[in-house]
Point group: C2
Chain length 244, copies 2
């Protein structure tokens, strides 16, 4: 239960750097610590490769050493490598970006994304967390975990666009539909001008451990295509993944 203060603080500093490179003074203010303390923490982290100075005596940013550590995270990296071929298949079938994400608490953590070469691209969410209620990848998880759904609904849901479903009853309704169909569509519910579909990846014992999703600009996706056909393709692709 007791925690080591300096480690706690070191991670606060690291997290504050995920927003982008920053100087000691900036960081000190953000994490509410004395400059000297932050400087000491940073120079320790630098020796460990967790951060690096952009130019000697200048700003700090997250270091490459973190990549090595993150590469060992499971099911993170292992899932990424097995899912790649399936993402490529989704790219080919839909012409749009495809990604994998995993549930983490009440959010989805986006692990990887494959984007076809195209002029108009959606942004890369790799490494970010998004609340489950706002994205179809979250919906396929919630639809299969009543307890988690209750927990999500226990707190107020954040609205991202005018179409985000933030009320309990309609969300429960949606989850019933998703459970029945096996895939989830969302139209501009998380970001304006972005539509997406998702389906669940299950382990051998049937538990949902990840989600595959496809998303693209609302202007062309799904366009005049059959949403059920796309949904079922995503579902079939997700079912091909065997892990854990």
């Amino acid at each position: 239960m007791s925690t080591v203060q300096s480690i706690d603080r070191a991670f606060s500093v690291l997290r504050s750097l995920t927003a982008g490179p920053a100087g000691v003074t900036d960081i000190a203010e953000r994490v509410h610590l004395p400059k000297s303390t932050v400087s000491r923490l940073l120079s320790t982290l630098e020796e460990l490769g967790a951060v690096e100075q952009v130019s000697a005596g200048g700003e700090y940013r997250i270091g490459l050493g973190m990549l090595e550590l993150a590469a060992a995270a499971r099911p993170g990296r292992s899932l990424v490598s097995v899912a790649r071929p399936q993402l490529a298949e989704l790219n080919r079938f839909t012409g749009e970006a495809a990604g994998v994400s995993i549930p983490d608490g009440t959010e989805m953590l986006y692990l990887d994304q494959l984007t076809p070469d195209s002029e108009l691209q959606v942004r890369d969410w790799t490494g970010h967390r998004i609340p489950m209620h706002a994205v179809p990848s979250g919906h396929v998880v919630l639809a299969n975990d009543r307890e988690l759904l209750d927990r999500v609904l226990a707190t107020p849901l954040k609205r991202f666009t005018p179409h985000t479903v933030v009320k309990a009853a309609p969300l429960r309704e949606r989850m019933n539909m998703v459970r029945a169909e096996g895939y989830a569509w969302a139209f501009e519910e998380f970001a304006d001008g972005m539509n997406s579909v998702a389906a669940a990846v299950r382990n051998d014992s049937g538990r949902v451990i990840a989600a595959l999703h496809v998303y693209g600009p609302a202007s062309r996706f799904p366009g005049t295509s059959d949403t059920a056909e796309i949904g079922e393709f995503v579902l079939a692709t997700a079912q091909k993944i065997r892990i854990d």
Copy 2:
């Protein structure tokens, strides 16, 4: 210069977990610290999401929180996303695995890898470091940095296979060739049964900031193909990448 002991220790623990999940007692032995200390460090790291327990009261492994931090590392993640289409192109042209790596000290850090669907696959080196002298991706970096080459040659070079070049004179010779051709081939120099080619990715000011490489089983790669043709294709592909 002074470092914070507990942070130092926490990272030792994290690094020891990159080899795979382990228990408190195991870790304590590996990092030469008392069990109680390791237990305290781990529970702190767990609260921060840096590690997680596989099952309550059991082994620990690297946590998903690390992915978020690592996602902010530059040029790491940004390079990965811009290099993806080029890796796919290399897949298509050669039928073999393609990857990106960046120089870090005297080693190459492997950031990403795209592997075509095939029965016989090479392993994924993502997140690992490999000494520059042993891999073609390292060669294209060394060939363009005389000072770094000197530094590498100042210490004894590790032999990985019977074909690894570990003597100064032959390596210098090779670097001259690589500099002239623009790409580097290596035949079973790092791992038995594995051949690979690499070419440098440069930023606007001409400095080598990364390497693209293709590798496959020696049994079929490059086979009867023209090594110069493949090399030049990799070079051309690497030159398409614009970053920083």
